[in-house]
Every structure is written in C-alpha cells, then in structure tokens.
C-alpha cells in the first residue's frame, strides 16, 4: 500500500457558490437589486417585507419576493396582499435556501421578468445558523432582529451577523414593554459587524420605514 496526499483546496459549497455567482451576474445585468432576508423564526420578516413591498409600490417601484419556508404557502399568500408578485419556496425540511432553489423558482414565474423589476427580496427560512453559508446571489444580506429576542442575539449567532450587509431591528413599537435595551443591542451588532447600517423599524406603525426605503433606493441606483 502506498499513501498519497492530494491537495484539493476546494470550497465545500463550490457548486452553490458557482451557481450563486451566475445568479448574481444575471441580477446585475437585469438591473435588479436582490436582498436576502435572514432572521430567527418569529422576528417579523414577513410583516416587515409586506410593508416594504406595499410602500415600494406606493413609491412606484417594481418589487417581487421569493419566500422560503419548510412547509405551507401562508407567507406567500400574506405577501401577495401587497399586490407584488410572490412565489413560495417550500424546502420540505431543509433549514436554509440554496442557490439552486432560487434558480429553479425564477424559472416559469408567471408575469415576472428580472428585467422588469427594481427589487427582488428573498425571505429565507427562519434560522440564524444555516443560511449563513449559502450564497443566493444576493447583493445585500439583511439580518433582522426583533426587540423581543434579547440584545445578545448577535453575540450568540456571530456567523450570520458578521456576514450581513445591513441589520434591521423590528417591532420597535413594543420595545418599551419588552424592556428592550436599545443601546446594548446596537453595541452588540456593532461589535460583531463593525460599521454595519442599522435600521430601527416597526411594520405596524411604519416607524423607520422611510430610512429603510431611502437606503433601498440608494442601493438600487446604478453605480
């Protein structure tokens, strides 16, 4: 018997990364800004997205959403009320979305062409661990954190918080009764991802939505 060492130096998720790079090229040439929304279950991703879609529409922008869940199309039906095209992705037990699922759900999406969109939102499966390794071809990864979750969430899930490009604090209308320590939360986010843009929002009252929508418009502008 002889032993041989073969150097591979290859990304474990190389296939996903290649597929995601291809998607990113497609999105860029179509001129659509793609965002990947990630949070724990129950943070309020869907409510936040619903309001975002509604307000973008009011501003005359064209937006669509792909929404990931293990089962049910409840979120897609909720989001469709905003008037935006929405497509559900059911992962049937898989704890994250991957680039292949995105590519597959972009095919045959009735009435939607990437060229006709300004924004495409991808609502990931509620999970703060697994989605961090899977590039979906997005340009902006948004991590959401609600005031009910505890200010130390960024410290508990540094892998995901560190990979985000923007952070959104949700449900600020109930911050006070929840005893939410705003300063501490902002500090912790910044310790894990120094300099990240942070938006403090309420999908219910609309607080903070203007700053968020301005940011989207700014990011969507061709550079």
């Amino acid at each position: 018997m002889t032993t041989r060492i073969v150097e591979l130096r290859r990304g474990i998720l190389k296939k996903n990364d290649e597929l995601a790079a291809g998607l990113r090229n497609r999105f860029t040439s179509a001129g659509v800004l793609v965002l990947n929304l990630v949070s724990s279950p129950g943070t309020g991703k869907t409510a936040f997205l619903e309001r975002t879609l509604r307000e973008l529409r009011a501003r005359g922008a064209k937006a669509a959403a792909l929404v990931g869940d293990l089962e049910t199309d409840n979120d897609a039906r909720r989001l469709a009320a905003s008037g935006a095209p929405v497509r559900q992705i059911n992962t049937h037990g898989i704890c994250h979305l991957d680039a292949e699922m995105i590519a597959r759900h972009l095919e045959g999406w009735e009435g939607v062409s990437l060229e006709g969109l300004n924004y495409l939102f991808i609502e990931n499966v509620g999970n703060l661990v697994c989605p961090s390794s899977y590039d979906l071809g997005e340009r902006i990864r948004v991590v959401l954190l609600s005031v009910t979750e505890g200010e130390d969430k960024p410290l508990k899930y540094p892998g995901l918080f560190n990979s985000a490009d923007a952070a959104v604090i949700t449900k600020i209308d109930i911050a006070e009764p929840c005893g939410f320590d705003r300063e501490l939360a902002l500090h912790n986010i910044n310790e894990i991802r120094p300099g990240i843009r942070i938006f403090e929002t309420s999908a219910k009252t609309g607080a903070g939505m203007d700053a968020w929508l301005d940011y989207l418009a700014e990011q969507a502008r061709p550079s």
Partner: protein, 128 residues
C-alpha cells in the same frame, strides 16, 4: 443543523476527485473550517458517518482544522488573530476591525489516499 447537507457536499466532491485515482481508497479527508463558518464540529463528525455510509468513502476519517478569526486593523496596519467570535476588535489597539482576513473558510484542503502497490491486485473492488 445543516451539517448533513455539508457532509453530503463533501462526499460528492471528494468522490469526484478520488475517481481520478482508480483503485485508491480514501483514508482521510482534511478540512479547513473558519470559526465563523457556522459549523459545529461534533455535529459534522456525526453527519460524516451517516453521509459516508454505503458510499465509496465509507470508513474514511474526517480531520477538521478549525481556524480562528483574523482581522486586519487599519490603524495598526497588521493582521491579528482574535480570541473567540464575540468582539471584532484589534487586540493591539482595541479599535473595531471590520476587515476579516480569515474565519469564513469552509473548504476541503486535501485527501489522503491509500493506493494498492502496482503489482498487487486491487483490494478495493470487493468493498465497492
């Protein structure tokens, strides 16, 4: 939680690479995994057993080299390893350091193959 998907991706990738060496058995797969890669070592080892079972990689060991986070500090102009993943500050000056130089790796570094000596019959056949 996604370690099973990761293990399955490793099996697929290594099986493909090892096919270039007919008759060889994969003895060990060596990984480089950054502290921010969201991988639980024990969980990946557990899933490795499941993912390799009944595959050409059955019996191969998985060696995981966990890499600490290294940040680049603009003020000091140097790359430094930080302790843990709770605060991204330069250990020298204490300033926040957003520029990550290591910590997100999730890669197969190398594989160790056991190959039959040329003159001997191939022992791998029976196992496949």
């Amino acid at each position: 939680m996604h370690e099973l998907s990761i293990a399955a991706s490793i099996v697929e990738s290594v099986t493909e690479s090892a096919s270039a060496y007919p008759g060889a058995r994969v003895k060990e797969v060596r990984l480089r995994v950054g502290a921010l890669a969201s991988i639980v070592e024990d969980s990946l080892q557990f899933c490795w057993g499941l993912a390799t079972e009944g595959s050409p990689l059955a019996g191969a060991t998985l060696a995981i080299n966990m890499l600490p986070v290294i940040v680049h500090c603009d003020a000091c102009g140097v790359d430094t390893e930080i302790a843990g993943v709770q605060s991204f500050r330069c250990p020298r000056c204490g300033e926040l350091a957003a520029d990550l130089r290591q910590g997100r790796e999730l890669e197969i570094e190398s594989i160790e193959l056991e190959e039959p000596d040329a003159a001997l019959p191939d022992p791998v056949e029976e196992q496949v």
